[in-house]
Symmetry: C2
Subunit: 546 residues, 2 copies
């Protein structure tokens, strides 16, 4: 026999999961609700929807068409939100250009994406002007001036004026939900940027599932009474997809432009922001500014991702009345995979649970596996690589078959993160796979060793990497910046590690092989310790005896 | 140009929305969580999953195959939940047989569905045995004995023993998400039952969207700490789809078997039930039993649907510490369309808002339209028919093209409900379309007139129907059961209506044309006033002058 299907009222039943349908509800429930951009713009959802039509008309007049890539270089704004919708809604592909990359990489990503139209905030016009000769595909530049200044001569027009002159009655049509909607480049610490892409179906599924853990009819959660302000840049993984969720729910939205702690706190107070998300660095910045100003943060729910939320930072936020939860995901995963929650069974520390990566959201399958793809025990201790399946993961790195195959080895997306899983499904990220030290058949977590060593007096900063060893595979090497006037020895460090070995906290392989004292630690463009550079310096592989 | 698609890592990226994936998360996060059936069974999710494999193996051994319809006649149970999953997961179609229909209709629905295997609770074995000669397609009957009693001779086996003997390692495969998963019959007050059906994709989308309004990381909502017990029979629109949501979330689930107020209250207390849903009649039954027993109901969130939650009943529940919300939907809509919520802008009565049908959930488009499909104003007053689009509506009435075309006229699903919509998207159901009285070019709401008339002294029960009128189209006629010893006149009734007309509450056409005093009101099988019978008695159309 065969599966059973029925004749269907085609027009009625066929409901593609295209991004335009995220608007279906909020235009009815929240037409008068507001979308706010700094001090500058305040529009209703009704106007927002009309502006989507105008933007689609204006882009079409500039040559936009189905399948074309259109790039955006802007700070967080209502305009960016309009691009999140209008560009995919005409069947084009939104490239959210990472404006923090070095200029040459900005050009590289625009060219590799094949972007033909760019929307550029005035702050990035000098960058784009300098790159213009190196952007052969770009046929039109729209300037986003944030005020009355005239756009440069080479621009096809200014955003607001183009919208004013455009027809609001653009007829958006439905199409295949598997059409590409967005594309952007990951900024890994290794190699050149890789392009990930997401379809309409994936973005819609991500939005409705991401609404689940934050949803709620009453009080806390993310619902009609919330006021939403992203504090994750909109060029970064669709600002974690939450602007799509917020628009779908019809909540008030606030966009802060270029991040500045005073603007953020002003908007938070004036607009009554209750729901945000950011990386720990932004939270620290907000907390420091709030202390300086004596600002009240009570009732602000913040989801933290990007890097681990430390228990100390979580407690700091909670002391000020904030609610903090962790989320985990990556560019390749749209991004949401897990969200933290208090432990089901009492007794354990709530902060500890909230600072874990969390439990998988619906439709997300997680496994923690060894190198042969066998599951390690779900005991909260055994480590392995976290691999994932879900309906919203990038299908490939665009144009890079080899990297795509590696990403999807064995039919699971490889996160390159070393994690543990426990019996209640709590995922805890322990390390980046490439930062793990494989010694004597065991995995040493570099982060664990770094935390232990950082406790010693006289240490300002520490990194631990694996260096090749003919017998043990790898052995750990420490790189330390000492506090001025202090010195640190290998013996002191290994004494500390010996006591951890004695108490069973780490394996006996944890003793460092050697220690390097340095003046400054090499950093990546986003301020993380550059372990790739450290490996190049200290862990060059033995010369092959070929 | 054309839409852009990318080469994809097929095995990885193609993630069909099939029902089996609702299990992906909870098997990791809630393997030790419990599913409870009365006093009889207590299994973990791990065992539940193993039993799905056993059930699939056992059914396959009985001849089950892709595309086959398999019918279930059971009270609410863990077995029914197993059938919700295992039957669609093997590619078969689950028929949730409505056991409240008259025997001849039970046979008719089983035959029209083409069910070849039936799973039958011992309480329904006499029914099925009596019907066996009239069920030519049925090749195997599995008895669900709830204990040690032997199954009847004609049964292929007993559920628990079949599972015991079956292989737990059934290999479920993925397939087209548009395959039919479930099928059941609506029990409208008119005509013979109509079959609606839902696909895997529809059920999964319904589950993840339905999680949104009830979801929540913290405290209230529907989350990991909740304990779920449906009080809407599982044969009725997948118990509103909430067993799928509960299983996806990995919450503790409690199944009450045949509804009995004492069992329900015992289970509520013993298992700590916090989240349920039911029709108002069941809520009334629970409240009465709780009063009798002095039972505590605090902290129990109940979603009410099926019929309107009256403000009085809502207040009664709230006084006992329950939280009450309304939901609205129908068999054709899987069912969830709207959920009530407190008003965004304060000042209005919370109970009033909570007893409305509510606001549409994400991806649901609602319109209130006149007979030419033009939208009536969203002013909370203007009435029209509620029409719907959403990704989980039945595509047709199976095998009934004419009814399907009428259901989907103009590309929107016609609810046959008369509603109003306001500027915040609150839907309020005012009447059934066929109960509306169309007079002088206006719609009179029969329910509104009935409520006004019921206020008069001496009235036990009242129904208002439209009777044909050569000039006005229709005119209202009242049918009244008077309290013993009282009488009621047309003049008394019209005096009451005149004052409502004077104050603008109803149109001037509301005055009744005539009044019939009757001894008893005709009722349908489910206890509603049978307006079809009243129309046959009092509103026969004028004989055509052919």
């Amino acid at each position: 026999m065969a599966l059973r299907f029925v004749e269907r009222a085609a027009e009625a039943h066929d409901f593609p999961l295209t991004i335009r349908h995220l608007l279906d509800t909020s235009l009815v429930t929240a037409a008068d609700q507001e979308i706010v951009y700094r001090d500058e713009v305040r529009i209703t959802y009704r106007t927002f929807h009309e502006r989507l039509g105008r933007l689609a008309s204006a882009l079409t007049a500039l040559g936009a068409a189905e399948g074309m890539t259109i790039g955006v270089l802007d700070w967080d704004s209502h305009r960016y939100l309009e691009c999140y919708f209008a560009i995919p809604m005409i069947g084009a592909v939104l490239q959210t250009v990472n404006v923090r990359l070095p200029p040459a990489q900005v050009a590289e990503t625009i060219n590799r994406a094949g972007a033909e139209i760019l929307l550029v905030h005035r702050d990035f016009l000098p960058l784009v002007e300098a790159l213009r000769g190196a952007l052969p595909n770009v046929r039109a530049i729209v300037a986003l001036m944030d005020g009355d200044a005239a756009p440069p001569d080479y621009a096809a027009g200014e955003y607001e004026r183009l919208l004013q002159d455009a027809d609001p009655d653009f007829e958006f049509r439905d199409f295949d939900e598997n059409a590409m909607a967005t594309l952007f480049f990951t900024t890994g610490t290794t190699g050149s940027p890789k392009a990930v892409c997401f379809t309409h179906r994936q973005i819609v599924l991500h939005a409705i599932v991401a609404n689940g853990p934050f949803g709620g009819l009453h009080s806390r959660g993310f619902g009609a009474d919330d006021v939403y302000m992203p504090l994750t840049p909109m060029f970064h993984v669709h600002a974690w997809g939450m602007p799509y969720v917020a628009t779908m729910l019809g909540v008030k939205q606030v966009y802060a432009g270029r991040y500045d702690p005073d603007t953020i706190l002003d908007l938070r107070a004036r607009e009554g922001v209750t729901f945000s998300h950011c990386v720990p660095t932004i939270l620290q910045m907000v907390l420091a500014a709030a202390d300086r100003r004596g600002a009240d943060l009570a009732g602000w729910l913040m989801t933290i991702g990007g890097s681990a939320l430390t228990q100390a930072l979580c407690r700091e936020g909670r002391r000020r009345g904030m609610e903090l939860v962790s989320g985990y995901g990556m560019s390749e995963t749209a991004p949401l995979l897990t969200v933290s929650r208090p432990r089901r069974e009492g007794g354990s520390d709530e902060v500890e649970a909230l600072t874990m990566a969390g439990v998988p959201v619906p439709l997300v399958s997680v496994r923690v596996v060894d190198e042969t793809m066998r599951d390690v025990p779900a005991d909260g201790v055994s480590r392995g690589e976290l691999v994932i399946r879900a309906p919203w993961l990038t299908g490939c790195y665009v144009g890079d078959t080899r990297a795509s195959d590696a990403l999807w080895r064995g039919g699971w997306l490889h996160t390159q993160d070393v994690a543990t899983l426990n019996r209640e499904g709590y995922v805890q990220i322990r390390d980046r796979l490439k930062d793990v030290i494989k010694t004597g058949g065991e995995w040493l977590c570099s982060v664990t060793l770094e935390d232990m060593i950082a406790d010693l007096p006289g240490i300002e900063q520490v990194a631990v990497i694996g260096v090749p060893h003919p017998h043990w595979g790898e052995r750990p090497l420490g790189v330390v910046v000492a506090v001025a006037g202090h010195t640190v020895t290998l013996e002191q460090v290994n004494q500390r590690l010996d006591s951890a070995i004695a108490s069973g906290e780490v394996s006996r392989y944890a003793r460092l092989e050697s220690l390097e004292l340095v003046e400054t630690m090499p950093k990546t463009s986003v301020g993380k310790v550059d372990k790739k550079a450290l490996r190049a310096l200290y862990a060059a592989p033995p010369v092959a005896s070929a």
